[in-house]
Amino acid sequence: MKEYQTITEISGPLVFVETDEPVGYDDIVEIELSDGETRRGQVLESASDYVAIQVFEGTEGIDRDASVRFLGETMKMPVTEDLLGRVMDGTGQPIDGGPEIVPDERRDIVGEAINPFSREYPEEFIQTGVSAIDGMNTLVRGQKLPIFSASGLPHNDLALQIARQATVPEEEEEGDDDEGSEFAVIFGAMGITAEEANEFMDDFERTGALERSVVFMNLADDPAVERTITPRLALTTAEYLAFEKDYHVLVILTDMTNYCEALREIGAAREEVPGRRGYPGYMYTDLAQLYERAGRIEGREGSVTQLPILTMPGDDDTHPIPDLTGYITEGQIYIDRDLNSQGIQPPINVLPSLSRLMDDGIGEGLTRADHADVKDQIFAAYAEGEDLRDLVNIVGREALSELDNKYLDFADRFEEEFVDQGTDTARSIDETLELGWDLLSMLPKDALNRIDEDLIEEHYREDETAETVEAEA
């Protein structure tokens, strides 16, 4: 293998090298520093007489005497079922002191796009045990549903709660072991603090989830450029486990904001024409290449479900990171600062949240026949109550009609009883929907115009109305 000592320029995370033999685009590079340290990088641009290399571990300490070797292949992830239970750094090197990993296969980390013709539409309900999700924004197997959060909010608690509780109820036959309906968890951390990392690891260890997890850790003080490969390693592992080994895999990626910052840094170093707010113009495509690696494939048992977490800079969801994410993923769950300060746990704001795959994943035979109607009605009633809160501040409760007052009460109780369940409670979908009916029965029957009349007859709590009638008299 040819070694070059022809570095011409070092700039930010990039190194430019003169070459006299062709080098493949995207190929992996090893750079040996004068003190013997080796770093890895990737070819970003390849011309006949020079290449641009992005160095994962950063360029600090590299000088023009460093020697450069092109490995003649693109970045690969060694995959095997034995990865379950292992902890690795952001470049896939084990850091848990465990045995050497003997790969079954080495897979290209960029991954190929799933042929849309080969996909199977996701429609198996995942019970997360969280009412605001199961009832209002249902997650299904093979979905990509990000958590839109912001700094200082408990998004990690929610992610952990989901990872702990998620099951697919009433899994049919094949259930020789209970794990059939549990998920293998792939955890890809990008630039999170050591404290946060401990929080996750402690929980994984406490609950025994670690044995069915693969952890990739790029921490805040690890090189930023490395972050661009961490999620790809995680997703390559996930695809292997799902589509070769029949696992249902849940991938948690946190924090996508740090990933995007790394992209921006590389873009700036390359002096690219920046897109919105300095992020690269191709960030949509880049993110899509991660998020679209969720799904189901016809004829394969397993599935890849993604739960990426991002913190919105300035709590602003029009910022390019949440914005582009929302345009690619199949909905989003909003963590809300106000609800959090009111002590609601998990502080999910259901109104802007959305699960686009919900409609096909719920209903008779999947969850319950009344699910869709109950959800629609709760959304309508909660939105109405929310609106009235502004008004009531101005005119007072007395100035509002009886019905308007009920909507206000509904909104309060919805937050306090339905959303606020704590991080340790897992509710079945039945419990969630029954709770929904308890709340909806505060409203008069003919206000429930989103619900089929037969369903109202079946589920409406007459005694609650009786109370109301009394109150009116």
């Binding site: 033999e21 062709p22 493949g24 685009y25 995207d26 190929d27 641009e45 390849s46 011309a47 006949s48 290209d108 960029v110 190929e112 796009a113 799933i114 042929n115 849309p116 013709f117 996909r119 199977e120 539409y121 996701p122 093979g142 589509f243 024409v273 920046p274 919105r276 113009g281 191709y282 495509t285 899509a288 679209e292 690696r293 799904g295 016809e298 004829g299 394969r300 029009t318 910022h319 390019p320 914005d323 929302g326 345009y327 690619i328 909905g331 989003q332 686009r356 096909d360 629609d376 959304f379 309508a380 939105a383 008004l391 101005i394 005119v395 100035a399 009609s401 308007d404 003919d446 115009n449």
Partner: protein
């Protein structure tokens, strides 16, 4: 994608540099927009710039591992689609490679590269029935025969637009594959059932006419307030999750077009899968056949190569024009045109072109208008009339409509369906904002609605618009003082407007019945609200307090009309009940 047919011998080139989807080659003998095969794996690309002996190519496949020094082979043909029977019920990638064939050839659910496949099956035989006889003179565009392509659609075999025409000397009925000659002309020209056409070139027509017929969508807010014409153009801008795709899918399902070309441009894989799984099961409301029988899908999902995103809209519109030439009304949906514009931007920035507004190339506006100009109601060169309606979704960053793609699109299209995040958040679907949206076709389509639905369609609609306008004004006051502070007649208007919103404008795409609403039903729901309005104001004039009027138990039934299959009877009863319950109050 079609193979090169040109037999020019062209010199191979050598790759000079690789940067993502953009590759440069040295010493390649090629013309602008020629298709070339790049590298030892033969990845498909297109020439997009020639400067001295350096040719720049956008590559329609991933370029990882490709290195300088590898060969580039020219084909001498521009990027073209292969047009013929077999395109309906098909799903293509952005350069017309059938995704089902690719799955089979690659033996994998993942898209490998360097695999090519013809756009239409070259071996499959079709039953050809001549429409002309020996001795007839035929010209370019003329229909020479038909093929029953699907139960819904007879495919018309046409003389290619660039043919010189002549006298038919041989034609026979029978089963042929698309490469076999079915007609011979006296000048020796042989006509097959397929023809190629370069995607970036509009297929010729005689003239564009003013559209006078609506493209009925079965969506109340569209047909009722903001109709699009057959041959018209529409844009649906909206932030993420506001309902662009659901609206496009609804149109693809229920619009009364003969042919639907659905282009998934840089969006989600699962959304294409949904169409593939649902459409074969759904019935075309006009013909009763499976919807897939009239549908051609083109998918370049967001994780597929970005250059093919740029080409997929052209592939789509060329296929649409071809069916238009047969005399069909074609509707093309592009979801999302923003991804196409971004693909242009990405390629342009790799070419280091001078960026225009927000980094988009200066030619963004020209490309958009060229594309939408290919829509229209046309007299075809064979004398038939056909139309291409184009409905483009737009995904503005941050939901801000002032950005370049939305603005440039709005300058061209005549129908604007503005999606509203606020409405979507309260689950008012379709969340098309009735105050901001418009249709410039409304007046020219009124005669059709008067003749085919009800003579007072325009007046009733105007009443609905006025009521909604008044509501918007009153809401501003209500926000400050509460509803009860308003005079009684205004409180009543608010209540009527609420029913217009909930019973008429809202429509649940996921309800078996409500998902499609014929124009008659659209009219009747609106008219039922008006019936309530008229009777209610009479009662108010007679001194009945507004609470009693709004409290009648018949009124909430308005919200249930949408889900009624036998709506006529339901509405008749409801209107009777409303009137009699109100009359009882005074």
């Amino acid at each position: 994608m079609s193979q090169a047919t040109d037999t020019d011998v062209r010199e191979d080139g050598i790759i000079e540099s690789v940067s993502g989807p953009v590759v440069t080659a040295r010493d390649l003998d090629a013309r602008m927009n020629d298709v070339v095969y790049v590298g030892s794996e033969g990845l498909m690309g297109e020439v997009i710039e020639i400067e001295g002996n350096i040719t720049t190519i956008q590559v329609y496949e991933e370029t990882s591992g490709v290195s300088p020094g590898e060969p580039v082979e020219g084909t001498g043909s521009p990027l073209s689609v292969d047009l013929g029977p077999g395109m309906l019920d098909a799903i293509y990638d952005g350069v017309q490679r059938p995704l089902d064939v690719l799955e089979e050839k690659m033996g994998s659910a993942f898209l490998d590269r360097g695999v090519d496949a013809p756009g239409i099956d070259l071996e499959k035989t079709w039953e050809f029935t001549p429409e002309v006889e020996e001795g007839d003179e035929v010209e370019a565009g003329d229909i020479v025969g038909t093929v029953p392509e699907t139960p819904s659609i007879d495919h018309k075999v046409m003389v290619p637009p660039d043919s010189e025409g002549g006298e038919v000397v041989a034609i026979e009925s029978g089963n042929f594959n698309v490469e076999e000659t079915v007609v011979e002309l006296d000048n020796g020209e042989e006509i097959q059932m397929h023809q190629e056409w370069p995607v970036r070139q509009q297929r010729p027509t005689v003239e564009k006419e003013t559209p006078t017929e609506p493209l009925i969508s079965g969506q109340r807010v569209l047909d009722g307030l903001f109709p699009i014409a057959k041959g018209g153009t529409a844009a649906i801008p909206g932030p993420f999750g506001s309902g662009k795709t659901v609206t496009q899918h609804q149109l693809a399902k229920w619009a009364d077009a003969d042919i639907v070309v659905y282009v998934g441009c840089g969006e989600r894989g699962n959304e294409m899968t949904e169409v593939i799984e649902d459409f074969p099961e759904l019935e075309d409301p006009t013909t009763g056949n499976a919807l897939m029988d009239r549908t051609c899908l083109i998918a370049n999902t967001s994780n597929m190569p970005v250059a093919a995103r740029e080409s997929c809209v052209y592939t789509g519109i060329t296929i649409a024009e071809y069916f238009r030439d047969m005399g069909y009304d074609v509707a093309l949906m592009a979801d999302s045109t923003s991804r196409w514009a971004e693909a242009m931007r990405e390629i342009s920035s790799r070419l280091e072109e001078m960026p225009g507004e927000e980094g988009y190339p200066a030619y963004l506006s020209a490309r958009l208008s060229e594309f939408y100009e290919r829509a229209g109601y046309f007299e075809n060169i064979n004398g038939t009339e056909g139309s291409v309606s184009v409905i483009g979704a737009v995904s503005p960053p941050g939901g801000d409509f002032s950005e370049p793609v939305t603005q440039n699109t709005l300058r061209i299209v005549k129908t604007f369906w503005a999606l509203d995040a606020d409405l979507a958040e309260r689950r008012h679907f379709p969340s098309i904002n009735w105050n901001e949206s418009y249709s410039l076709y409304r007046d020219q389509l009124d005669p059709w609605f008067e003749d085919n639905v009800r003579a007072d369609w325009p007046e009733t609609r105007q009443w609905a618009i006025d009521t909604l306008d008044e509501e918007a004004e009153l809401q501003e006051i209500v926000q400050l003082v509460g509803k009860d502070a308003l005079p009684e007649d205004q409180q009543l208007t608010l209540e009527i407007a609420r029913y217009l919103r909930e019973a008429w404008l809202q429509q649940n795409a996921f309800h078996d019945v409500d998902t499609f609403c014929e124009p008659e039903k659209t009219y009747r729901i609106m008219d039922a609200a008006k019936t309530y309005n008229d009777a209610a104001f009479e009662a108010l004039d007679a001194g009945v307090p507004v609470e009693e009027i709004t409290d009648i138990d018949a009124a909430p039934r308005l919200n249930r009309i949408g889900v009624q299959e036998d709506y006529n009877e339901y509405i008749d009863d409801l209107e009777d009940d409303i009137e009699s319950q109100l009359r009882e109050l005074y």
